[in-house]
């Protein structure tokens, strides 16, 4: 016996109440729970909103949408974070995914942005980072940077003439697709391996891919920390990971923060062990390289 709920009286109320049911987490058996976390009865709520038919109860009809919602989000999140799944393993990744998507439902018309709040969410939920929290967080950051680099804007390159005219007061603009990361583990190699293998698999649930994922978990457990700096960027519409020296990383970070060129160089070299006499050559080479990659924009 369930307590009756009153029927909604406006379109907004129908949509709020149905969305609350549809977006409520599934049970472990991937069913719609009969009772919600706040104690409300989903059976009564379904009966108040949805008509039954001769084959399905109101609850069962609503459950179709509840499952569809979560399956779609799971599929998208798994596709965006295969490296994180390789690190955490299936069960822990599954718990993380459900918790994150419950706390941070999509607020964008595009599923592309589903993982945009994951890094910040980890600040509040470090318990979901598993036994290798730094490694897991590094991977999540790299995977989000990859998504951003994939389809962010590419602006016109700064002309050679304008590039030659810059001075220490100039503020250089960098391509919107460029991201720089300081990481504690060499997760770039691991992600490339995972992506290559996933790309060759026809289904994420076949036996071959399960074997590979177990292999990943073992591989990850043996991965030693090693501080790396990388630029995640795009060239000819493919995403690349470019290793950076610490000086390059700090210089690019300062430029991305909008600091003038002179200040950025000072900041980048202030703690650098690079001998004074090698610094001009370092700067010349770095800027020539970045200009060739088209990172400076007007």
């Amino acid at each position: 016996m369930t307590e009756p709920s009153s029927s909604p009286t406006s379109l907004l109320e129908v949509q709020r109440r149905m969305a609350a049911a549809v977006m409520h987490p599934l049970t472990r058996q991937e069913n719609m729970p009969r009772r919600r976390r706040d104690g409300a009865s989903n059976i009564a709520e379904a009966e108040a909103i949805i008509r039954p038919n001769d084959r399905l109860s109101s609850f069962e009809r609503l459950e179709i949408y509840n499952r569809q919602y979560w399956y779609r989000l799971f599929s998208c999140f798994e596709e965006d974070f295969p490296g994180l799944q390789a690190i955490l393993g299936r069960a822990k990744f599954d718990r993380l995914m459900r918790a994150y998507l419950t706390d941070c439902p999509s607020e964008s018309f595009s599923l592309r942005n589903l993982g945009s709040r994951l890094d910040a969410w980890f600040d509040q939920h470090p318990e979901h980072l598993g036994p290798h929290p730094v490694l897991a967080r590094d991977m999540a950051r790299l995977e989000w940077a990859h998504i951003e680099a994939f389809d962010s804007e590419e602006r016109a390159r700064l002309s050679a003439q304008k590039l030659a005219a810059i001075d220490e007061h100039s503020r250089l603009h960098l391509q919107p697709y460029l991201r720089v990361l300081a990481l504690s583990y060499p997760v770039d190699d691991l992600l490339l391996q995972v992506r290559n293998e996933d790309g060759s698999a026809t289904s994420s649930t076949n036996n071959a891919s399960s074997t590979r994922k177990r292999h990943h978990v073992r591989h990850v457990a043996a991965l030693a920390p090693k501080a790396i700096h990388i630029a995640v960027h795009r060239l000819e519409n493919s995403v690349w990971y470019k290793p950076l020296s610490p000086e390059e990383f700090h210089l690019l970070s300062a430029l991305l923060d909008g600091k003038p060129l002179g200040d950025s160089i000072d900041l980048a070299l202030s703690t650098s062990p690079l001998p004074e006499d090698q610094r001009p050559a370092f700067l010349q080479e770095a800027f020539a390289n970045w200009a060739m990659l088209g990172w400076f924009t007007s």
Binding site: Q15, R51, N53, R55, S106, F109, F150, D151, P176, N237
Partner: protein
């Protein structure tokens, strides 16, 4: 109505959905295809490979935009960001019309990314029609709305789905993307006669037709777009073409996507009906379209029959 103000007075023929697994085939082989339908949201990005591929396709093919998250039926106001990006894409593709679904999917700024069914109420008619007009005004291209497949009905509904669709498009003065597979799926899930639906909609507003495959479960049908078109859906299509004339038609195939050739061959089956309708048009021979179709496309399969028996159609 082959060409009308709702499809920009075009006569597009038979197209297929542009999907990533077919990119390489299309770009390298350049197959002859009447037109491609793109999912707008996949290309509402700032740069990168999606837009590079799209630009190459635009150079060689006719493109029509189809959206999945405008949510005309949501009470939430339209997203300015969404509208701006949509209009940018319209300028890029020169789509002669723009479609999205007669559904809702977001509330209080949160998106379900699903095509949730509407309660068929007068309040919903007003809300939905107003938002369609807003999108049409902003994007400056004809907007057509697609009926969705559904698995639930609301106590609050005050009319049938086809009455609701008609009220909305009349008030919004917009076109219809008639998805005959969705009508079939919903008719089985809600036990109504799908021909009553097709016979009711204002034919002069139908700008485009969708066909697709679906999956049958024990107690309901799911709109999965992962199969060829089933005979029962071809029969509905034949009736729709008979009423509307040879209308731009698109096959949707979104999961377990086979080769380009297989998808295209399935879509081209629609030409049999379109040709018959074109030939019958001067005299409007009411049976010509159906009679001229190959028998094998219209005969119920075993699974069709089983469902028809269990579906208790009115």
């Amino acid at each position: 109505m082959p060409a009308n103000r709702f499809n920009g007075f075009t006569d597009y023929g038979v197209g297929i959905g542009l999907r990533i697994p077919h990119y390489q085939h299309i770009l390298s082989r350049k197959p002859v295809v009447d037109w491609f339908e793109i999912i707008s949201e996949n290309y509402m990005v700032d740069g990168g490979r999606p837009l590079e591929v799209l630009d190459q396709i635009i150079e060689q093919y006719k493109i029509v935009q189809h959206g999945v998250s405008m949510y005309f039926g949501s009470v939430d106001p339209l997203s300015r960001e969404h509208l701006k990006r949509l209009k940018q894409l319209v300028r890029r593709t020169h789509t002669p019309w723009l479609s999205d679904h007669l559904c809702w999917g977001s509330v209080d700024g949160r998106y379900t990314h699903d095509l949730l069914p509407m309660p068929y109420t007068w309040e919903a008619v007003e809300v939905t029609a107003q938002k369609i007009r807003q999108v049409q005004d902003f994007t400056e291209v004809p907007v057509v709305v697609e009926n969705v497949s559904s698995y639930a009905e609301f106590h609050a509904s005050e009319m049938t789905e086809w009455e609701f669709l008609t009220e909305v498009v009349e008030r919004a003065d917009c076109g219809i993307l008639l998805d005959v597979n969705n009508i079939y799926v919903s008719s089985k899930n809600h036990s109504f006669d799908p021909f009553e639906y097709v016979n009711f909609v204002p034919a002069h507003r139908v700008a485009q037709i969708h066909i697709a495959g679906h999956s049958k479960f024990e107690k309901y049908i799911l709109d999965t777009h992962d199969h060829p078109v089933l005979p029962a859906v071809w029969r509905l299509y034949a009736r729709a073409i008979e009423r509307c004339g040879p209308t731009a038609t698109l096959l949707e195939w979104d999961d377990n996507i086979p080769s380009f050739e297989e998808v295209h061959a399935e879509a081209l089956k629609a030409n049999k009906f379109l040709k018959a309708a074109a030939e019958a048009a001067p005299t409007r021979n009411s049976l010509a379209a159906i009679q001229s179709a190959p028998k094998s496309m219209l005969e119920p399969t075993l699974s069709d029959s089983a469902l028809l028996e269990s579906g208790s159609a009115r």
